[in-house]
Each structure stands twice: as structure tokens, then as C-alpha cells.
């Protein structure tokens, strides 16, 4: 019985494949449009999801709380004695001051993110740069980069090293220098920091520590790691939304195309269904055959589109969408996102691309195949 069923399905699939080959132009056209739609949708979802994931991984190593001093609603430098004023808050394992800022380089019309690091051998003359800066300025290790301070004074730094390419997504525009060099370049006096960072042992106590900080230092605001992550998340969602809106036109065009193809059976197709019914095929056989046809087209399109999107996102840096999804940075990183496929996301995409097509195909076929074969052939 099982063999009989399987053989029957094999015959139906064989017939379906030959039907598709008989209408080669139409089938290939539909497949191409279908692949394009799946490719675009999958690229957007894979890319934003991978960015979120990447942001999550990156922030895992960041401190649980950042403390910024506020003045007139703006972020201001924070005195080093705030570290003492924080005192020995329970649960806080480490606290330190950070120096960071932005530097606009008119030569390449790009902003660099400057942070301080202790690993520079010659504190006042050496820096480490991200690969994005190196590319933009044509720099290599041993070359010199001149930066101008706020009062116009020029400082030359030797490139001691380049940051690892693997971290390019976050480090493309990063420039690391010693705290001394940073203070000299930006005229930041000793005894102040850009912000303070705190590490908390128990993640459940982070909010409690933040509450205590607000009471203890009323002119500061604590920023929690989870809040940063949520901000990233909403920024990516917002951009994903924008792209989906941009894609709506093409998705609608595809829906109309698929609907037209599916609902408007050609005279040839109607006649073929009539012949099949007349020679002894059941309505269910015709439906199964058309179901296989829908499955073959939609699943092939889904798989090809999804794999192409996977390659586009994880091996070609999502080059088609980067201006929208990566924002305004001039120094686009050349990166490889960590390949990550979410089961739910895959299932959602499958549900919204494959199922509607199969349903749209099956309904008109069902309508035709329940009609008397004589009427269909006439």
C-alpha cells in the first residue's frame, strides 16, 4: 500500500516536472521573480538579525553600567573624584574612568572614534588604528598620521599596529591612543574622564546599583548594557522596517504576478486538466500534481533565494543594503558577520513566501478540477 502511494507520488512529480519543462519560459520567469523576492527579504532579515547578534556579542564584553555626567541636559566630562564618591557600592567589582571622543578628518570626510588604551609602547607618539582608517588614508604599520588638536596644533603619530580585521564591524573607524596623547590632542585636563564604567558581579543587581548611583550622584545618568542593546535592537528594527517599506512595491508586484499566474489558468492548462480528468485522474490527483508544482517552484525559489541571500550577507557584506542598514558611517567596514540562522525567522519567511503561493495556486486548480471534464474541455 505504501509502495503504491509512493509510486503514485513519483508519477505525479515526474509529470509535474515535465509540465514545468513544457512551459519553460513561463516557469523560469516566475522562478526568477520569486527568487529575487525571497533573496531581498531574506537578505534584510538575515542581515539585521546578524547585526543584532553581533551587537549582542560585542556588548557582552562591555561594562554593565556606564556613568555619564550631565550638564544642561548634555553629556559633560566627569571629575575623577566621582570614582571615590561612588565609594564602595555593594556588588560593584570594578570601576574606572574612560576617555573617548570623535575626530573629524577633513582629508577623507570621515569621523574616527578615538579611545584610549594602555597597550601603546610609546605613549605620546604611537597609535593603533582600525582597518577602515588604514584603507581610507592608505596607511600601513610604520606610517605616520597627523591629527590636529583643538587649537590647530599638529600631532604626528606612528602607526604601531592595525586592529584585527575580524573585529572590523566595530573597529573599522577606531583609533586607539594613550590617555596622555588623548588629553594632549583634545585638551582634556588631568582629573576628568569622558565617562566612568562599572562592572557588577551579579547581573540581577545591575538595576539596584544604578538606582543607588542616581541617588548618590544626582548630576549623572547611569546607562545599562541592556539599554544599549535595546537601542541597537530598535535602531536595526527601524532600518529593517524602512527597507521593508521600500521593498513593499516589489513584493506587491510579485503578489499580483503570482496571483495572476495562479488564478488565471491558461486555456492550455484548463484543457490539460480536463484531459487528465477524462482519462481517469481524480480531482485529488490533479490537486496533488498542482501541489507538487507549487512546492517545486516555491521551495526551489525559497532555497535558491535564501542561499543567495546567505552568501550576500555573510560573504559579500550585504553590499546591496549597507547604505541603509549600516547608517551614516563614511568608513564602511569590510566585514564578515558571524553566520547565524534563526529557526523562527526561517520559518516565518517560509510561511510568508511559500504558503501564500501554494494556496493561490491550489484554489483555482481546485475550482477547475471539480468542474465536469467535459465542461473544462469545451
Amino acid at each position: 500500500m505504501m509502495w503504491l502511494f509512493l509510486r503514485k507520488q513519483k508519477y505525479l512529480i515526474d509529470f509535474t516536472l515535465s509540465s514545468l519543462l513544457r512551459r519553460k519560459g513561463k516557469s523560469l520567469g516566475l522562478l526568477a521573480v520569486y527568487i529575487l523576492i525571497v533573496f531581498m527579504l531574506a537578505s534584510v532579515t538575515l542581515f539585521t538579525h546578524a547585526l543584532r547578534k553581533e551587537a549582542g556579542l560585542m556588548l557582552q564584553a562591555s561594562p554593565e553600567i556606564i556613568v555619564q555626567r550631565m550638564q544642561a541636559g548634555r553629556h559633560a566630562l566627569i571629575p575623577a573624584d566621582y570614582l571615590q564618591r561612588i565609594g564602595r557600592l555593594r556588588g560593584v567589582t570594578q570601576k574606572e574612568g574612560r576617555l573617548w571622543g570623535y575626530y573629524y578628518d577633513p582629508a577623507v570626510k570621515a569621523n574616527y572614534t578615538i579611545m584610549t588604551a594602555g597597550q601603546v609602547a610609546a605613549p605620546l607618539t604611537e597609535i593603533i588604528i582600525g582597518t577602515g582608517i588604514a584603507r581610507a588614508r592608505g596607511l600601513a604599520v610604520g606610517d605616520y598620521l597627523t591629527l590636529r588638536s583643538q587649537n590647530g596644533e599638529a600631532f604626528s603619530f606612528e602607526i604601531a599596529a592595525l586592529l584585527d580585521e575580524k573585529s572590523e564591524l566595530v573597529s573599522a573607524d577606531l583609533l586607539l591612543m594613550s590617555p596622555q596623547a588623548f588629553r594632549r590632542l583634545f585638551n582634556v585636563p588631568e582629573g576628568v574622564y569622558t565617562d566612568l564604567v562599572l562592572s557588577v558581579r551579579n547581573p540581577r543587581e545591575v538595576r539596584k546599583v544604578a538606582e543607588k548611583l542616581t541617588l548618590q550622584l544626582p548630576d549623572t545618568r547611569p546607562i545599562l548594557r541592556e539599554e544599549v542593546l535595546r537601542t541597537y535592537d530598535s535602531v536595526f528594527s527601524w532600518r529593517q522596517g524602512i527597507l521593508f517599506v521600500l521593498l513593499t512595491g516589489s513584493i506587491l508586484a510579485f503578489v499580483i504576478f503570482a496571483w495572476d499566474k495562479a488564478s488565471g489558468l491558461s486555456a492550455e492548462e484548463r484543457r490539460e486538466i480536463g484531459i487528465l480528468k477524462a482519462v481517469g485522474w481524480e480531482t485529488a490527483d490533479v490537486m496533488r500534481m498542482k501541489f507538487w508544482e507549487g512546492m517545486i517552484i516555491s521551495l526551489s525559489a525559497f532555497m535558491i533565494g535564501y542561499l543567495a541571500a546567505y552568501a550576500h550577507v555573510f560573504y559579500a557584506s550585504a553590499s546591496l543594503f549597507e547604505p541603509v542598514l549600516k547608517g551614516w558611517a563614511v568608513l564602511y567596514p569590510q566585514f564578515r558577520l558571524t553566520p547565524f540562522v534563526d529557526g523562527l525567522q526561517l520559518a516565518t519567511l517560509l510561511f510568508f513566501t511559500v504558503l501564500p503561493y501554494i494556496v493561490a495556486t491550489i484554489i483555482p486548480i481546485w475550482r477547475t478540477s471539480i468542474t465536469d471534464p467535459d465542461a473544462v474541455m469545451r
Binding site: 509502495w3 503514485k8 508519477y11 509529470f15 513544457r22 477524462a278 485522474w281 481524480e282 480531482t283 467535459d374
Partner: protein
């Protein structure tokens, strides 16, 4: 297997301005193992009547009985089963599916039965041999001549070994020589025990010695249904 029709009526577009009564109360019997021909001008209702006998459409009213079984009121699922196991069809324009090979076209009615592929091919090849088409098995049907296409249509009609063969205007697209050949094939099939129903307005068919009975139709009613050897 005796085919009995009792007061069969068929109306198209019922209740609409273009309502059309194709069959208006036909009662007939077709004896087994005979060749019967429905004769009449275009629009006389012969094809409609034949399609109802072959379960390709249903009567608006009346009863169609196949042996002991009343088929006119069967649901679609059972009608397909009757159609598949009892009838083989040869259509006026042969209705072969272009793009498929001769062999694939012949095997088409047997696919839903799920028979082993080797057995299917062997049966189809046996039929091709019987109708002198062995060399054409792998050709696309578009390459066939009218006579060859018709023989392929006959092979397809016979693949499930039906008891009743229905041919709608089988010689309409053939010249005289091929029409005679076709009637020769019909005679051979009758000798194998098949019941054959043909519609035609071609004298080479209804005047043929192979035909046992001619049913003359006009505007959906039977004018004459006598046995040829009696008349």
C-alpha cells in the same frame, strides 16, 4: 455490460437567458460487445450524450445505468473510479498532451493507479506494437501524423483495459484511407470483447459494416435507433 439511459435531459446555463436544452428526454439501451454509432449534425446532442454515458458530465435529470449500477447519481469520486476502470476515450482532436512523448501520453491514464513502472511500460509498448507504433515510442506527439496521433489516442484509451470504448468524431480529422483503417481497428477491438460507442456524421463511419447500430439524433432527441442488420 449493458448501458441503459432513461429519460435523460441535459440543460446548459439553466435559468439564464442563454439556457440551452442539449438533450431532451432520451431513453436508450446499448448492448455489450457491439459497435454503436450516434449519428447527427453538429449540435444534435450526440457528443453531450456520449460524455454523460462516459461520466465526463452529469445529466440534469434522468437515469444512466451501467449493468446493475446506477451511475448518474454517483458522487465525483466514484464517477472517476467508474471512468478509470470502465471507459477509454478517443477524442475528436485526440487531446494528446504536447511536449510529452508517445509512451508518456499512453501511460498517462495509468499513473494514478500506481502500477510498477516496468509493468506500465511493458503494457504501453505492447499496445504500441499492436498498433504499429513501436518506433515512435520516444517521439514527442507533435511529430506524429493525424493517423499516428489517432492510433496513439487509441492506445491511451486502452492502457487500463476498459470494457467500453468511447470515440467522439474519431475520423473528423482523417482522410478516407485513414478513416477506413480506423474502422478496421474498431472491428479488431470489438472482436476482443469491447463495447464501442462512436459519434460521427461521417458516412464512412455510420455506413460501415463494422457498426452494428446507428442512433440518429436531431436537436437533442433520438429520431431513429434501429439495429443496422434489422433495418
Amino acid at each position: 455490460m449493458l448501458i441503459q439511459l432513461t429519460d435523460i435531459k441535459k440543460v446548459f446555463n439553466q435559468g439564464k437567458p442563454n439556457e440551452f436544452w442539449a438533450i431532451q428526454g432520451v431513453s436508450l439501451e446499448f448492448e455489450p460487445n457491439r459497435v454503436s454509432c450516434l449519428k447527427g449534425a453538429s449540435g444534435s446532442g450526440k457528443t453531450t450524450l456520449l460524455s454523460m454515458i462516459g461520466c465526463l458530465s452529469r445529466p440534469t435529470s434522468g437515469r444512466i445505468q451501467l449493468g446493475e449500477r446506477l451511475i448518474s447519481s454517483l458522487p465525483e469520486r466514484f464517477l472517476t473510479d467508474v471512468r478509470r476502470h470502465t471507459f477509454g476515450f478517443i477524442f475528436q482532436r485526440f487531446n494528446l498532451i504536447p511536449g510529452l512523448s508517445v509512451l508518456e501520453n499512453i501511460m498517462l491514464p495509468a499513473y494514478p493507479l500506481g502500477l510498477p513502472y516496468k509493468r506500465l511500460v511493458a503494457t504501453a509498448q505492447h499496445l504500441l506494437h499492436q498498433f504499429n507504433l513501436s518506433t515512435k515510442a520516444d517521439n514527442p506527439v507533435e511529430w506524429l501524423s493525424g493517423g499516428e496521433a489517432q492510433r496513439v489516442a487509441i492506445c491511451r484509451a486502452l492502457i487500463n483495459d476498459p470494457q467500453i470504448l468511447i470515440a467522439d468524431e474519431p475520423t473528423a480529422n482523417l482522410d478516407s484511407k485513414l478513416s477506413y483503417e480506423f474502422m478496421g481497428l474498431i472491428d479488431e477491438l470489438r472482436q476482443t470483447g469491447k463495447t464501442i460507442l462512436i459519434t460521427s456524421h461521417d458516412p464512412e463511419v455510420f455506413d460501415s459494416a463494422v457498426v452494428d447500430r446507428v442512433v440518429e439524433m436531431h436537436d437533442g432527441v433520438v429520431l431513429d435507433s434501429s439495429l443496422k442488420d434489422v433495418t
